[in-house]
Each structure stands twice: as structure tokens, then as C-alpha cells.
């Protein structure tokens, strides 16, 4: 694969810092184009990404006047429902027509509630107007008997929406934000069933070490990341060496296998044209290989080694850029850099992969000239890929970016702000003394 117009080895890959600031300020202050209409019901999610990106870029203070900051906080609070929790967006707001008979169409929403709390923390609010008790009660109703969580409560208290770990991740995140790792009732509000939740994650582990949306579904980096982050929120990650054992049920049946699966996400298949070209194998039923008639694997020369032939030169350049996919035999995609690298960081194993060529792939291939990141090389930027691309290089320690909490996918500054709030300290005790 060639990369026309791109810098070659030796040139420093660079984050186009000022372009990213422009991109995110535009998202903050002007209308998003109409093709975001498909995200209209998840505006709190988009809102959180926009504010958080500027926070990670270190631009939030400069970008917002005091009045704007307060205005955004007010907008988030307008998404809070009278009975507590947040809707996903103003789209479902029935205004003064809302009553007990129709409020099921304007329900509390798991992503809405998670991202509202996170946005308030990012904007420096103290969450004093959040109906925290109501949210924690609601969480217990959002958990299904199998331990999973849903998206909304429907008629007759039916838990609606997917069974996958995304909603469990958010439920666990909300719980951590509002009551830390304390297990059991708090102020008379019962806890979610943490053991059942951990069981549900354990059951979603696949034969290859990844985690899927439900038992026996296919391993997927997004669900794997959500599951591992959620385990960190409820303090049920596998014990690290030297950690004294306790009797609590913990996640991940086979940590070495999960690490194997996560590192297997690194790939040289960076776009559709790359499929099949790296192995020398043709991928169709027409070519029926008899044993041992297939191509030998290409041996890569060491990176700084001889560059005497074209073939060797090619593999030298290939090693400069390493992409990340979300499932076995899929192509690289910007967002999976986050979904695969964040759990490694959360498990404290980021050092088992070389992040430098992943960073170069993001900066040289999917970073866009106008700022932000696209899904694939050449794609225009969008909020989702731009945000996860940015968070990933922040996890890698990009100079000039804020330190981020990989599991919360937000700055440590915002999480520390939450930990400093007096009402939270009163519940959690002294956990603020040490970071998460």
C-alpha cells in the first residue's frame, strides 16, 4: 500500500493541535450539520465528547466565557427529568404536557444520565442540583435478573434496550460518580447487584479471550473495553500480582487469554485494499490449497536493518504504521484504537504493545487536515472518531494533552473534581486522597 502525499519515515508525525482546537470549537459553538440528525436522541453523548475534547486539548478555560460555561451547565440541567435522571436529548421533552400517562415516551436514559453527570463534572459544576438519590434508586430498577443493564424503563417497568456491556459500563460509571466503590446500601438506597453484574460479564467472555455483547456472541473490542472499564468502576478487576486475595467475585476468567486477544487487535490491514495482501493467501473457495502449497510467511527485517531491496523497504515502511481493529479479521478503524488500548491501560498492561506505530497511524493516516479524525484514511472527521482518536493519543501520553482516565474516557482533572465534592466525600470517605 502506498500513501501518496504523506511524509515518510524520518519525518515527525504531529498532532495538528490548533486544527483540532478549531474543529472542536466549531462543534461547540455552531450548529452541527444535519447529517447528525441520526444522533438527535443522543445529544448528551455528543455534548460530553465536545466539552471533553476541548478539556483534553487544554482549551476549555480559554474557549468558554463564564456566562457560556454557566449556560451549558443550565442546558444539561434542563435535560434532567422531574422524577430524577436525564433524558438523552431535548428531542423527547414533552414540556408542560408531560404527565404520568405519557412520560414513558420521555424516559430516563442510561447514556443520557451518564454523559450528563460527566458533562457537569467537566464543566466544573458541583452536581448539587442532581437528584442523586433518585438516580441510584433508578439504577437498581435498570438491572435485569441476569445482571445486565438496559437503556430505558418502558411500560410496566420493563427494561428496554440492548443487553450488552455498554449500558452496564454506564450504570457502573454512574454508581462510581455518585457513591464511589462503597458496596451495600447508602443512605437507605440499596446497591445494584454487583456480583450478578460481574457474573454477566464473565458469561460474555468468548472462547478467544475477548468479550462480546452477550453469552456466545462474537468478541468485540467495544464490548471488551466497556466490560473491563466497568469492572474497574466496581473495583472487581482481576487481582494484580501482590494484591492480597479477598472473597469477592472478580471479572475475567483468563487474563492471559484476554491480553492475547487485545494485542491481536493490532493489524497491518489498514484499508480495504490491504485485505489478503499481507499473507499471500487468496481468500476464496476457488483457490483450494493442498497442504503446504501455500505461501510462506514473509519475514520482516528488523526495523533499522538493511534496506537493499524493494520488498524489504516496503515492510520497513509498513512497520511505521500499525492500525487497530475491533474484531478478528477486520480492518483497522480509528475508534478501535481506543476500544482496544484503553482496556490494556486499565488493566495496567499498555506496555505490552508498542504504541508508537499506532500513534503514527492515527496522526498520519486518519487525522484530518481540518482537525479531528476520520474512521478510515481519507474519511472526513466526525465527532465520535475524532474524540476517540484524541483520547487514544492522550492515553499514549501525547505532550500538550491533559492526562486522561482511560476507563472514564475523560480527563483525570474532571474525575478529581468529582472526588473533591463534599457530598461525595461524605459518602465515600477518603478515596479522594488517592486517585481512583
Amino acid at each position: 500500500m502506498t500513501a501518496p502525499g504523506l511524509s515518510v519515515a524520518g519525518d515527525e508525525s504531529a498532532l495538528r493541535y490548533s486544527k483540532h482546537i478549531n474543529y472542536w470549537r466549531r462543534n461547540l459553538k455552531t450548529f452541527l450539520p444535519h447529517h447528525y440528525t441520526g444522533n438527535d436522541n443522543n445529544r448528551l453523548t455528543l455534548a460530553s465528547f465536545i466539552v471533553s475534547a476541548l478539556d483534553i486539548l487544554g482549551d476549555l478555560e480559554t474557549a468558554l466565557s463564564v456566562e457560556e460555561r454557566q449556560g451549558y451547565i443550565e442546558w444539561v440541567y434542563r435535560c434532567q427529568l422531574p422524577e430524577g435522571c436525564f433524558r438523552g436529548a431535548p428531542a423527547t421533552d414533552l414540556k408542560n404536557h408531560r404527565n404520568d400517562e405519557n412520560k414513558v415516551w420521555d424516559p430516563a436514559h442510561m447514556p443520557g444520565t451518564f454523559f450528563a453527570l460527566l458533562s457537569l463534572a467537566l464543566l466544573g459544576d458541583d452536581l448539587s442540583r442532581v437528584k442523586r438519590r433518585e438516580i441510584l434508586l433508578w439504577l437498581t430498577k435498570m438491572q435485569r435478573p441476569n445482571g445486565s443493564f438496559g437503556q430505558t424503563l418502558g411500560e410496566n417497568g420493563k427494561v428496554e434496550g440492548g443487553v450488552d456491556t455498554r449500558f452496564g459500563y454506564m450504570a457502573a460509571g454512574i454508581r462510581w460518580m455518585l457513591r464511589g466503590n462503597v458496596e451495600g446500601p447508602v443512605d437507605g438506597v440499596p446497591d445494584i447487584n454487583v456480583d450478578k453484574f460481574v457474573e454477566c460479564i464473565l458469561e460474555s467472555e468468548c472462547y478467544d479471550g475477548g468479550i462480546s455483547e452477550a453469552p456466545f456472541h462474537e468478541s468485540h473490542a467495544g464490548f471488551t473495553c466497556c466490560a473491563i472499564s466497568a469492572l474497574s468502576f466496581v473495583d472487581r478487576l482481576p487481582l494484580k500480582s501482590g494484591q492480597p486475595p479477598d472473597s469477592r467475585l472478580r471479572g475475567l476468567q483468563n487474563v492471559p487469554l484476554t491480553l492475547h486477544w487485545l494485542t491481536s487487535r493490532l493489524t497491518l490491514t489498514l484499508d480495504e485494499e490491504d485485505i489478503d495482501t499481507h499473507t499471500g493467501e487468496i481468500n476464496s473457495s476457488q483457490t483450494h490449497h493442498s497442504p503446504h502449497s501455500f505461501a510462506k510467511l514473509k519475514s520482516h527485517p528488523p526495523k533499522a536493518g538493511k534496506q537493499s531491496s524493494t520488498a524489504e523497504l516496503t515492510s520497513h515502511f509498513e512497520m511505521e504504521w500499525v492500525g487497530v481493529n475491533g474484531r478478528c479479521n477486520k480492518i483497522a478503524d480509528t475508534c478501535y484504537a481506543y476500544w482496544a488500548c484503553a482496556p490494556l491501560q486499565t488493566l495496567d498492561y499498555l506496555d505490552i504493545i508498542d504504541t508508537k506505530p499506532v500513534r503514527r497511524w492515527l496522526l498520519d493516516r486518519t487525522q484530518h487536515l481540518v482537525g479531528g479524525f476520520g474512521k478510515l484514511p481519507g474519511d472526513p472527521p466526525d465527532i465520535y472518531h475524532s474524540y476517540l482518536g484524541l483520547v487514544t493519543i492522550a492515553i499514549f501520553g501525547e505532550p500538550g494533552l491533559q492526562n486522561v482516565d482511560a476507563a472514564f474516557c475523560a480527563s483525570r482533572r474532571a474525575i478529581e473534581h468529582l472526588q473533591s465534592l463534599p457530598w461525595r466525600k461524605a459518602i465515600v470517605g477518603n478515596d479522594a486522597a488517592s486517585y481512583r
Binding site: L94, D106, T279, H292, M319, R327, C328, D354
Partner: protein, 309 residues
């Protein structure tokens, strides 16, 4: 042609409810089209009255076309169908092209599940799934839905197994198809052990697929998954792995996954730490250098194990 309601006599009795965006500083505000803004105003108005009617079915369809991820519009539509006693086959006929237009949408599949569950028959679903997979043979929602069908209608059949075989035949790297096969073989509801002959059949099946394309991780994962699930020793496939890589013949390697497998086999054997180390070095330096740090980390673990032994 955009559709509007304000000048439609059928909707003259409805006062739309405009969106409230909360003051001068909304976040993530979207430049809606007039068509979408108006339709949403009418949707909020009918939801306020819990109106369940034919015209509302049309309105929900219109909204879904513009915003398929609107979570309550789908629940509302399901309620309308129920209240009207609507023809659910007709609903499926509408859902088919809608799903083909929104390949990545979750709600459509949840809705479909609700409808097919009520219909109580999987008739026609297999054909529709095939049409979907022609667009994207690894579509996660479609494979998840297929698993639900198998479970709901107890389709752990030879026919279903044959179907995964065809999917794998079409693309031996389709990991979704391999995963579905694992589900059929291992994931039966009652959780009983896999019969001995089925285990043998699956091991041979995976080996044959590896012989077709040794550098394909899906059947390697499958092979080892079947062994692990049935608590069979990995040493069982040592001879097989050696067909594709041998640490004594470092220039003749046909599969990095064979080397990877040999590492685990040697690590379990007495006095084979050197061989395991050689395989890891071949992976790190020649056959899978993008994961160099990982293979070196594994090498460190070998040292620990031998130190402990």
C-alpha cells in the same frame, strides 16, 4: 419529496409541540431540516395524547427514515401495532428495506425480535438474513439476531450447522461465522457436554480450514477454543502445529499462529523452555513483529515460570 403536516387536512386537529432547547447555550445543537423539525413536533404531540392510529404508524415511519436511532419512536410504534392489532407480516415487509438502508442500526433488530417473537415463527427470516449478509457478511447485529432466532426457535440443527459451513466456505476469514458455529456446537441451552464425536468432527473441521489458509486466526482460535472448552490438552495439536512451523526450521514458517500455539505447548512441557523461547523470538523478530513487545513480555513470563519450577 419532503413530507409536511401543517397543511395536511388529516393532521389539522394536532397542535405540534416545538422542541425546547433550553436557553441561549445549547450543546450539540443540530441544524435540523424543516421536515424533521416539523415531524418531531407532531410526534411529541401525538405521544402526549397516547394516540394509537394508522396515521401515527405513518408518522413513526417518517421519523425512522430520518432518525432510525430514536429509541422511543420504535417503542411507540410497537405499542401502536399492538393496539391496532396490525398485520405483523406487513410490518416485517416494511422492516426489510428499512434494515437494508440502516445497516448499523440497533433498534431495528430489537423491533424485529419483538415482532417475530409475537408471530411465533422464523419463516422467511433465514432468507432475509442472507440478503443482509450479502451487504456485509460480518454485520454484528445480524449475527446476534441469528443467534436469537436459533435460541427462540430451537434451531440447533444440522441444517444450521451446514449453513455456517457455507458461510465459512464463502469466506474462511469470517470470524462471525466461526463464532456462530461455536455457539451451535457448544452453546445449547441445557449446557450439556459436547458429545465426543462432535468434538472430533469440529477439531477436524478447523484443521481442514487452517490447511486452506494457515495465516487465518479465526480457525486457530476456534480449534483452541474447542480444546479448552472440552478440557482437552493443547499437546493434542502439537503434530498439527508443527506442519506449519518448526523452531528448528526458522526460514520455513507458514503461520505465526502455529508458532503462537507451539509456545503454549512447549511452555507446558518439561525441559522445552528453550523451544518456547525460540518460537517467541521468531514471532518477535520475524513473523509477527508488530506485536514484538507482547512476545517479549511472554518471554519474560517463561523465565518466571522456570524460575518458579
Amino acid at each position: 419529496m419532503p413530507k409536511f403536516y401543517h397543511d395536511d387536512p388529516e393532521w389539522a386537529d394536532i397542535e405540534p409541540i416545538a422542541q425546547e432547547d433550553g436557553g441561549p447555550h445549547p450543546l450539540a445543537a443540530i441544524a435540523y431540516t424543516d421536515e424533521y423539525s416539523e415531524a418531531m413536533g407532531f410526534l411529541r404531540a401525538v405521544m402526549v395524547n397516547n394516540e394509537y392510529s394508522e396515521r401515527v404508524l405513518g408518522l413513526t415511519e417518517h421519523i425512522i427514515k430520518m432518525n432510525a436511532a430514536h429509541y422511543t419512536v420504535w417503542l411507540y410504534r410497537a405499542k401502536v401495532l399492538e393496539q391496532l392489532g396490525a398485520d405483523l407480516r406487513r410490518e416485517i415487509a416494511w422492516l426489510n428495506p428499512t434494515a437494508l438502508k440502516h445497516l448499523k442500526n440497533y433498534q431495528i433488530w430489537n423491533h424485529r425480535q419483538t415482532i417475530i417473537d409475537k408471530l411465533g415463527s422464523p419463516e422467511g427470516e433465514s432468507e432475509f438474513i442472507s440478503t443482509m449478509l450479502e451487504q456485509d457478511s460480518k454485520n454484528y447485529h445480524v449475527w446476534s439476531y441469528r443467534q436469537w432466532l436459533v435460541q427462540r426457535f430451537d434451531l440447533y440443527t444440522d441444517e444450521e450447522l451446514k449453513w455456517t459451513e457455507n458461510m465459512i466456505e464463502e469466506d474462511v476469514r469470517n470470524n462471525s461465522a466461526w463464532n456462530h458455529r461455536f455457539y451451535l456446537v457448544v452453546g445449547k441451552k441445557d449446557g450439556q457436554a459436547v458429545p465426543e464425536d462432535a468434538v472430533q468432527r469440529e477439531l477436524e473441521y478447523a484443521k481442514a480450514a487452517i490447511r486452506k489458509a494457515p495465516q487465518n486466526q479465526s480457525p486457530w482460535n476456534y480449534l483452541r477454543g474447542i480444546l479448552r472448552h472440552n478440557k482437552l490438552p493443547i499437546a493434542m495439536i502439537k503434530g498439527f502445529a508443527l506442519e506449519f512451523a518448526d523452531v528448528e526450521k526458522p526460514d520455513d514458517v507458514y503461520s505465526s499462529h502455529a508458532l503462537d500455539t507451539l509456545v503454549d505447548i512447549y511452555a507446558e512441557e518439561e525441559d522445552k523452555k528453550e523451544e518456547a523461547k525460540k518460537a517467541l523470538e521468531l514471532l518477535a523478530t520475524r513473523y509477527d513483529p508488530i506485536r514484538k513487545q507482547y512476545w517479549n513480555y511472554r518471554k519474560g513470563l517463561l523465565g518466571q515460570t522456570s524460575a518458579m519450577a
